[in-house]
Amino acid sequence: MRSDEQKPFDIDGLLEQAFPDDLPAEAEERMAGRLSRSRQEWQMTEKGTIARSPSPRRWSLALARISLVAVSAVVVILGLSLRPSGPPTGLASSLAALQKAASVSGQVGSDRALECTVRLEREEASSWFVIEWINPEETRVRVILSGKETLHTIRLRKVDRSLLELVARIGGKETGDQPPLAAELLPVEDLLTSSRFRRLLEGSWRPAGIERLDGCDWESFAISKTPGAAPSRVTVDTCTFLPVRLEKELGPGGMLEAVFRWAPRSEPGAISGTIPS
């Protein structure tokens, strides 16, 4: 008689014989990995199903997310609205000063007629100079010192300009073979030609205040050539980008003040100084 209890035992043996536990380690590892991934996917699906079901936690998460989006949107709008209202940053001020310096240099470099009245204060005496740029090669200077007036006409030798200089519209270089200047003109030598004047305006421009506000504002800048040296102060008409006044310290007790009238753009009212008769 055959016992029923032996049947499962035989099936187990049969299964072990059919599927022996002798898989290569790599295949077993892959199979374990696949099983693990399937289990993870199943768990994720379960979690997703739970998450999809309405629950207070889900609602609070959604609310938090919406609030964060709203706060971020407000931050963006705040940033955009701050832009025009806020004071200029250091970078913006620096960029503006540089751009104004470039624009003024460009305007001065153009072929313009200039009449410039210069007052030179010294410890011993004051003197006046009236400088006129007649044309790019000729400058006339009237010097008034102790009631005595002398007239100087400076004729610069024409300097050949390279094609690049002509295209870039930059002033020709003044070579060293120019006629020597009279000694009494040396204090104003930087104002005698446009290229020398541009060199005078070279330096670091820092805003130093606004002198007039009427649409065509007059802005002042301190121009430093070397750190530590006394800066020059130039006032610029912001409509024309032309200097209207220049103040410069000349050693102890010395001071140079120049007022410019540019033709034909500047108003004659730009001149504030008077020449003693």
Binding site: L68, V76, G86, L91, S94, L98
Partner: protein, 336 residues
């Protein structure tokens, strides 16, 4: 000498001669000094390596070096190598552009020269970007070669790809952050210490409040909308997109201001452009890219997403372009 060995030697000598001729051409042009900036090169090299360590480990750096030296590799390194070299090249490029922006802003902050000299210094501030691009191109060679090797290896024996498992932050990552902060501080603190910036509030030069708010707020919004993507990818994409949006807005305002001939408005808009790009790039370097690399490290076969790659390469390129436009706009006189 056997024919194949002779051919190989001739090939090596030929390549060396090409490099020598190239360098000789640059040096003989007489303007080589204009292209050299030791501090800028150190910034790009150090910054790129620091950024690499912020997301990877020294062993990854070693694996990349072993590959470059032609030494045998482990199988798991072979699968990661293309991404490692790409990441290194990408780091040099992004750090180079950031260095160019930092140089540009520092020049504006500390200069005491005239327009011509400032224009020269501003143009010279692009040198770190040049070094970054050069190093990125150098890294592109092993990146492409290792990708080719990997595909050949996969044809013969497929490499198993395992899913991403969260990797813990390791010592090298912290060291990378410290190194990066030190390098960024060195570029700012050193000139401050020399007294150039005593009268300036330096942070005001680098960070425009409105640009900071726009980029930060926009990035959070985009990261929230990209919720299912990885955090590193979301942040990188978000920062690039908002940085670009901010820059474009600033550029449009610049054009409007030009029509009104208002220099103050032009300068303010240009400052917004620079600050938007700077904040976005800095955010990418300090948060987006390390997180993306960290997530890539978890994968046995990482590969950048197409959108991520756009953020890595195109956004810095556009930022550099905006910087060039700023330079041109600033030194060009407004004609009346």
């Amino acid at each position: 000498m056997t024919p194949p060995a002779f051919k190989k030697s001739a090939w090596v000598i030929g390549r060396a001669l090409i490099v020598v001729f190239l360098l000789a051409g640059v040096v003989l042009s007489g303007r080589f000094a204009h292209f050299w900036d030791g501090a800028g090169f150190a910034f790009v090299l150090g910054g790129g390596v620091a950024l690499f360590l912020m997301g990877f480990s020294v062993s990854h750096l070693g694996a990349a070096a072993r590959y470059a030296a032609g030494r045998p590799l482990r199988e798991e390194d072979a699968a990661v190598l293309p991404y490692l070299w790409e990441a290194l090249g990408r780091n040099f490029w992004i750090v180079g552009v950031l260095g160019a922006m930092a140089n540009f802003v520092l020049t504006l902050a500390r200069t005491s020269e005239g327009i011509q000299q400032v224009a020269f210094l501003l143009a010279a501030s692009f040198r770190p970007a040049l070094y970054g691009l050069f190093l990125a191109v150098v890294c592109a060679v092993p990146a492409l070669k290792s990708r080719e090797d990997l595909s050949l290896r996969e044809k013969s024996s497929p490499i198993s790809v395992r899913g991403g498992e969260r990797q813990p932050w390791i010592f090298e990552n912290i060291a990378g952050y410290v190194l990066m902060v030190a390098i960024l501080g060195w570029t700012v603190i050193l000139p401050s210490a020399r007294g150039f910036l005593q009268e300036q509030r330096l942070m005001g030069f680098f960070f425009d409040r409105s640009a900071l708010l726009v980029v930060a707020g926009g990035t959070v919004v985009i990261a929230l909308f990209l919720g299912r993507a990885s955090l590193g990818t979301s942040l990188t994409s978000g920062l690039a997109v908002t940085g670009l949006l901010g820059s474009l807005m600033g550029l449009m305002q610049t054009l409007f201001a030009f029509t009104h001939r208002s220099i103050q408005d032009v300068a303010s808009a240009l400052a917004f452009v620079i600050s938007s790009c700077f904040v976005a790039l800095l955010g990418m370097i300090l948060a987006g890219i390390p997180l993306a690399d960290h997530e890539a490290r978890a994968s046995s076969r990482p590969g950048g997403l197409a959108f991520n790659r756009l953020a890595w390469y195109i956004f810095p390129l556009l930022a550099l372009l905006f910087l060039v436009l700023t330079l041109i706009a600033v030194v060009t006189p407004i004609k009346i």
